[in-house]
């Protein structure tokens, strides 16, 4: 299994790189979010939506998905190259992240032909934004405890929703929600009573209210269902199969790759960015980069970043895996990425010395307070989509084969 890139792939990579470089939109006057969970206003939303559409039209999104649903029917490795080059060229992120990475693959895997025909293409074009309705207030990522009720109206076949979902990113802009709700409160287990819906967000009785984050920005919502009626065909799979489908969504969410439409969901800040910030930083009268202790820390971060990237690569290509833990690298992606981002941001604040005290909106803040903001925003990664604690449980159980930690 030689992994040296073939001349054809190399050429394709160059072509993609050029297209992205040429077509990358000009930096807007407002700051762009670093993650799709940080889209805080309509300017950002429209800018990103237009960019996703442009990428799709150029043929660089959903490349490995079937042509009949709007994909391009090409090999996955081409999409992988596009994804990598998006990070290299630093293009803006794909705003319909939930659609591209979780809802879309789930529909492709569990959906009916009709559902695929209906939903997939608008996901790719960004015409129809998706949000996710799993977590509920008071239960966090403990999905077995989902309380939102979906009661089937025997006359119309519609489901009547009551309850509330939290951390519904982009719920205000979304057309649809992947929704986990309880259809049978008397089922044999708390899991067996759950069903999975592709729910319309514009139904009567559905209301999304934005939630302030610790950075005092918007970015996600709480969505309320008050006798909201959704059509019978919103149900995916059968009643009572919701848990199984939700788990399959979580597999995508936790960073296992394969099946997603592609595109970058985050702007990745790198050690190189921190270095470039550090070049102009002074600590106690001396350039920060001359401080041997900070140099030591910077190099440590650099090694981590290189290793993380190589490990991801190794996982994706099943290259030289440890036989005892073949799936370890994929399951670790989210944990490693989110904690790495936290450490990187904290270090980028530290190198600023006395100036580290300043926050965004201060005209003298280094890089406009990017890193101070990033430090706060970075908790989204270690909490959202299953906390780092939960991620470690999952790896301990599924990769290290240790007994369940309950």
């Amino acid at each position: 299994m030689k992994k040296i890139e073939s001349p054809e792939l190399k050429e394709f990579r160059a072509e993609v790189n050029k297209w992205l470089t040429d077509n990358k939109p000009a930096k807007p006057s407002f700051p762009l979010p670093q993650s799709f969970t940080e889209v805080g206003n309509n300017d950002q939303f429209e800018y990103l939506k237009a960019w996703q559409n442009k990428v799709y039209e150029a043929g660089y999104l959903g490349m490995a998905w079937p042509v009949e649903y709007g994909g391009r029917g090409r090999p996955q490795e081409l999409q992988d190259i596009v994804n990598q080059e998006m990070l290299n060229v630093r293009t803006p992120l794909m705003v319909n992240a939930v659609g591209l990475s979780w809802a879309g693959p789930t529909i492709m895997k569990h959906g009916t032909e009709e559902q695929k025909q209906k939903y997939i293409k608008p996901i790719l074009t960004a015409d129809e934004i998706w949000c996710q309705g799993f977590s509920e207030p008071g239960h966090g990522s403990d999905l077995g405890n989902v309380q939102t009720k979906a009661v089937r109206d025997p006359e119309t076949g519609e489901y009547v929703l009551n309850g509330s979902k939290i951390w519904t990113t982009l719920a205000e802009q979304a057309e649809h929600m992947i929704l986990l709700a309880r259809t049978n409160p008397d089922a044999s287990s708390k899991y067996a009573g759950l069903s999975f819906f592709l729910a319309p967000m514009h139904a009567k009785g559905v209301e999304a209210k934005p939630i302030y984050k610790i950075s005092k920005e918007y970015g996600f919502c709480q969505t309320f269902f008050d006798d909201a009626r959704i059509p019978a065909e919103s149900l995916m799979g059968e009643e009572g199969h919701g848990w199984m489908i939700a788990m399959s969504v979580l597999t995508f969410e936790r960073g296992v790759t394969g099946g997603q439409a592609g595109g970058n969901l985050f702007e990745i800040t790198t050690v190189r960015d921190v270095h470039d910030t550090a070049v102009d930083c002074i600590r106690d009268g001396k350039p920060s980069l001359e401080d041997p202790v900070l140099r030591d820390e910077l190099i440590d971060l650099y090694i981590s970043e290189r290793a993380t990237r190589l490990s991801k690569h190794r996982g994706e290509h099943s290259a030289l895996l440890v036989p005892e833990r073949m799936h370890g690298l994929g399951l670790a992606n989210k944990l490693v990425g989110s904690e790495g981002r936290q450490v990187l941001n904290a270090f980028a604040v530290k190198i600023q010395g006395n100036q580290a005290q300043l926050y965004m909106d201060d005209e003298n803040a280094i890089n406009g307070g990017l890193w101070q903001h990033g430090q706060l925003a970075s908790f989204a990664g270690s909490i959202g989509g299953g906390t780092s604690e939960v991620q470690r449980n999952i790896i301990a159980e599924r990769v290290l084969n240790l007994p369940k930690s309950r």
Binding site: S135, H139, G140, S141, D142, G144, I166, W167, I211, Y212, K213, I214, K216, C281, I282, R283, D284, G285, D291, V293, L294, V349, K350, Q352, G353, N354, Q355, A356, Q357, L358, Y359, M360, D361, D362, N364, A365, G369, Q372, Q375, L376, F379, A380, S382, I383, G384, T387, S388, E389, R392, N393, S405, R406
Partner: protein, 382 residues
């Protein structure tokens, strides 16, 4: 190693015990989350009625001799007040005013002491210090590039200071300037210095107020000089040493507050059918944080006990050790507070982030742990 071990000793007088009880009750009552969040939205960041109450309780002159209008207590008592203010996220110009008052007292300039100290203790005037500069980003007291140039009977100032705590609230500002290549402290009456170009800063702790001041062209009379040369250096070193202790106390207290908030949540919140505090992934990091906090408190109390404001010996060492450790403690628990609260911890509504932000600011003001350790290495190893 060059230093002799100081005796194990922490000052805990009876006065301190009584003061602690009274201050805890007062601040718990006054400094509610709701109240502090409201103040954070104001320009001044503090409540004038509360400020007057602090004056009436004698806190504004807590460590000021009675002859000058103060309460005549010591640094350990002052330190305890700062710890409790951190514990309850209290916001006010207390740090700025206390440090400036001590600077005036240390200057031995009778005129300034007579003119200002009683007013600063009574709450009728507020003072602050302008010591650090964007020009060199230094955390050390004598790295001064702002200048004061003699010009007839007066002095013309030049240069910019940043992180002037409560500059927007101050009636007087004491700045450090070079006069003929030597450090000097100059006291500006803000009311009479109308030409002062002052801009509010936006800090990581949005409940804290400070300004950036450009002094270019400001004229002050010779009488504005508080201290010069070696005397100015001594005052600066005294003030920095004291700042280490008071900021450390604030951070250790902040850490305690963050810990209590987190423990309350961990005791009642359930996930996967169990209280989250029963998961070792939650509880063990909190134990680690507790150990760091206790160490910080020990170092803070010790530093307050051995404090004499001089540079180069155990007083400076103790202050820098405290600053280093309490920064780490408050940073750690601030992060754990957010993380342990899960999704809620990431919302503005949850109080967890208030503790991290206060800790973050305290960590970088006057030198972070890496900086403090570098200076400690020079003091201890060489």
């Amino acid at each position: 190693m060059n230093i002799s071990e100081a005796p194990l000793h922490i000052d805990c007088s009876e006065e301190l015990g009584l003061l602690t009880e009274a201050a805890t009750n007062y601040l718990r009552d006054k400094s509610t989350f709701e109240e502090m969040r409201k103040l954070a939205e104001t320009d001044s960041g503090y409540d004038t009625t509360t400020w007057q109450e602090l004056a009436d309780m004698g806190w504004l002159g807590l460590a000021v001799p009675e002859e000058f209008g103060g309460s005549g207590l010591g640094i350990p008592e002052l330190t305890k007040i700062f710890e409790l203010m951190g514990r309850f996220l209290f916001s006010s110009p207390f740090l700025a005013n206390t440090l400036a008052t001590q600077a005036i007292l240390q200057s031995n300039s009778d005129g300034h002491i007579q003119d200002w100290v009683a007013d600063l203790c009574s709450g009728s005037k507020i003072a602050t210090l302008a010591l650090t500069e964007p020009n060199n980003d230094s955390w050390e007291p004598t790295a001064i590039t702002c200048t004061a140039t003699k010009n007839g009977d007066s002095y013309t100032l030049a240069g910019t200071k940043n992180f002037v705590l409560d500059g927007q609230n101050a009636d007087t500002i004491i700045g450090s300037f070079m006069i003929d290549g030597k450090p000097a402290l100059i006291m500006l009456d803000a009311a009479t210095t109308s030409s002062l170009s002052q801009l509010p800063e936006q800090l990581v702790n949005h409940a804290r107020r400070s300004t950036r001041i450009n002094f270019d062209g400001v004229q002050v009379p010779a009488s504005a000089i508080l201290a010069t040369g070696d005397e100015a250096v001594k005052v600066l070193q005294y003030v920095f040493s004291l700042t280490y202790i008071l900021l450390s106390a604030d951070m250790a207290g902040t850490a305690n507050g963050g810990m209590e908030l987190t423990l309350e949540y961990a005791r009642v919140r359930e996930q996967f059918g169990k209280h989250i505090g029963s998961y070792q992934a939650v509880s063990h990091p909190l134990v680690n944080a507790m150990l760091l906090i206790e160490d910080s408190l020990s170092l803070v109390y010790y530093a307050a006990t051995v404090f004499d404001g001089t540079w180069g010996g155990e007083s400076e060492i103790a202050g820098r050790m405290a600053k280093s450790r309490s920064a780490e403690a408050s940073d750690l628990i601030g992060r754990r507070a957010i993380q342990s609260h899960g999704g809620m911890g990431f919302t503005w509504e949850c109080h967890a982030h208030l503790f991290l932000k206060r800790a973050q600011w305290g960590q970088y003001a006057y030198g972070d742990p890496t900086h403090q350790r570098r200076h400690l290495a020079a003091l201890i190893i060489d």
